[in-house]
Amino acid sequence: MRLVWLACLGFGGLLAAAPQDPELNVNSRYLVETVIVAGDGWSTDLASEPNEKISVGLRRQILALIGTKLNPNLLDDLAARLRKEFQARAVSHRLKRGDQPDSVRVVFEIKVPPTRFDVSVPKFLYNAKQGWSGAVEGTGAIERNSFTLGLVSDQDELVERYTGLRARYENTRLGTDRVRVRFQFEDYHDQWNGATRNQLLLGGGPADLTSGVYRTRQNFEPVVSFVIAKPLTLSVGTSFERFEDQFPAAKTEAANALLATLRYQWQLEDSDTRQDVDAGYSLHAATRILKSDFVYLRQQWTLHYTLRRGKHTVTDGVQFGFLSGHAPLFERYVAGDSTQLRGWNKYEIDPLGGNRIVTNSVDYRYGILDLFYDTGAVWDSGQPSIARHSVGAGFRQGPFFLAVAFPVREHRPDPIFMVGMNY
């Protein structure tokens, strides 16, 4: 037995001695001429073609191989990173002779699983004033087609709490990578805060600009997206929304609208800093042409800018919203939730929401520590706008966030505690 152990020790020495030594591969004497990355129906030579599919950081690491002696261990590391970034089944690499003598071309091949299933939690939140909100989704995908079925209960996003299911079909490559199509169906049961009901019962002012409360709401939304240029995407579609009013009598109304969204996402990364810009404009135009009972125009501009440098991260989010016409409650703007005017209770600001909104949120993050300052106003046209402010602090690690936010006002501060993920 002692001999067996001795043999094992010797064998262990062998294993430890060699696996990381790139010189063991005879090709390590050759220069890397170029690197080619190939995926499902696409291939790019990174030395000569920019490729937006690969993140800036990873692309830079791959490009650093070119002109240097081959290091097979680096290829394994980069293959692992590509696999993670593309959520691929496997990423293999192989060498080919280069055009020049004693040079090689490295080819990474990304193999995407033809079918996959994933369960995700797009949102989970506890807000001390609004209670729980959350969503869970299961997605099955066959090549470029994905089918999603989800359950949601949310009192954070709108004036109402909507609870129900959503189903979605998406094709991310309709003939070309530049065209995507999505069909979404939602079926919700709605619950209302007492402040909202009371405001509607009082009537007048904003109550005359919107619908009454409704007990159920269904929406069918087909949307086609076009990638105009890589950072710029245009989505157009329609929303066929119908809801069953509770008061004064049960009846079904429709809010059918044309949808258009223009989105610009841009990223700049150098050795020390990374900047992300996400700007968007969305338009909802409900019209009689679509047999809508409500006629309105809802426009919204958003801009998010993030600057990262080491452990420091600064984020600024700006939002402007303008709603004209007679729009149902789910289209009205809300602040005092988990992303805007954090620390304020939205039912205290305006229990019916508003048809104008301006908000700005600044976050400074060092490591997991997060400090934020929110300001903004929600109001109705013809009414005075009141600017509100809030400050808070919390911890953010990946998608998880825990925070306490304070509204800035004269009388006693009434902090709001929030904890959750992906919001």
């Binding site: 067996v4 094992c8 064998f11 262990g12 430890a16 001695a17 696996p19 591969n25 192989r94 003598p101």
Partner: protein, 207 residues
């Protein structure tokens, strides 16, 4: 009365089974393990053993490094009791320009380049040896050669942040091979050092 021809009728299933069995026996019988004794160490040769084929060969030709783990085991006559083991690590790569193989030994770092597939296989086996020190010259024994393509996950499990995991290392050769990794086991015996000293290699086989 059952006709004679009906009694002798062989079913399609039997033919299939017989065909499979025959091909298996042919495959097993094709690989011989030859043992040589130089006075101190036992050496092996297996000219019919071709391990640079299939997926390992494809990986090599794609420019990857492929590692084979080998183990020679001296067994008592009962073929169960282990007398001694000797392990070796064989690291191979394939020159995409010269289309030749390079092999590096784990024990002493010796390496040789410019080999064809057959010479690379032969060089690997030529450099496997196990000491016969302490063995009685007239006592029968068996010699087992195990050769396995190393799974990178096995290697990373053996050599981790906390050092070398001996438990994992023993498990590598104790557990059944993964079906997608090439592996071979060849036995030679019963042998006696006294017979091997006579000069001629002694061979036996096991697929």
């Amino acid at each position: 009365m059952i006709p004679h021809s009906a009694r002798l009728k062989i079913s399609r299933r039997s033919w299939l089974l017989a065909g499979l069995t025959a091909s298996l026996f042919r495959a097993r019988a094709a690989v011989n393990l030859t043992v040589h004794f130089d006075g101190d160490n036992l050496h092996v040769a297996a000219p019919q053993l071709h391990f640079l084929t299939g997926k390992p060969l494809n990986r090599l030709q794609d420019g990857s490094t492929v590692v084979f783990l080998s183990q020679l085991t001296l067994l008592r006559e009962d073929r169960l009791t282990v007398f001694r083991r000797s392990a070796e690590r064989l690291t191979l790569s394939y020159d995409v320009w010269e289309e030749k193989f390079r092999v590096t030994l784990g024990t002493d770092g010796r390496s040789v380049s410019g080999l064809s597939s057959a010479t690379a296989e032969a060089w690997c086996l030529d450099n496997l040896a196990i000491s016969a020190l302490g063995m009685a010259a007239d006592r029968p024994f068996w010699l087992r050669l195990e050769l396995r393509e190393a799974d990178p996950r096995e290697l990373s499990a053996v050599v981790g942040d906390s050092g070398i995991s001996l438990t994992t290392m023993i498990e590598i050769f104790s557990r059944k091979s993964r079906t997608d990794r090439a592996h071979w086991t060849l036995d030679a015996g019963p042998l006696r050092l006294a017979d091997l000293r006579l000069g001629a290699g002694h061979k036996a086989q096991k697929g």
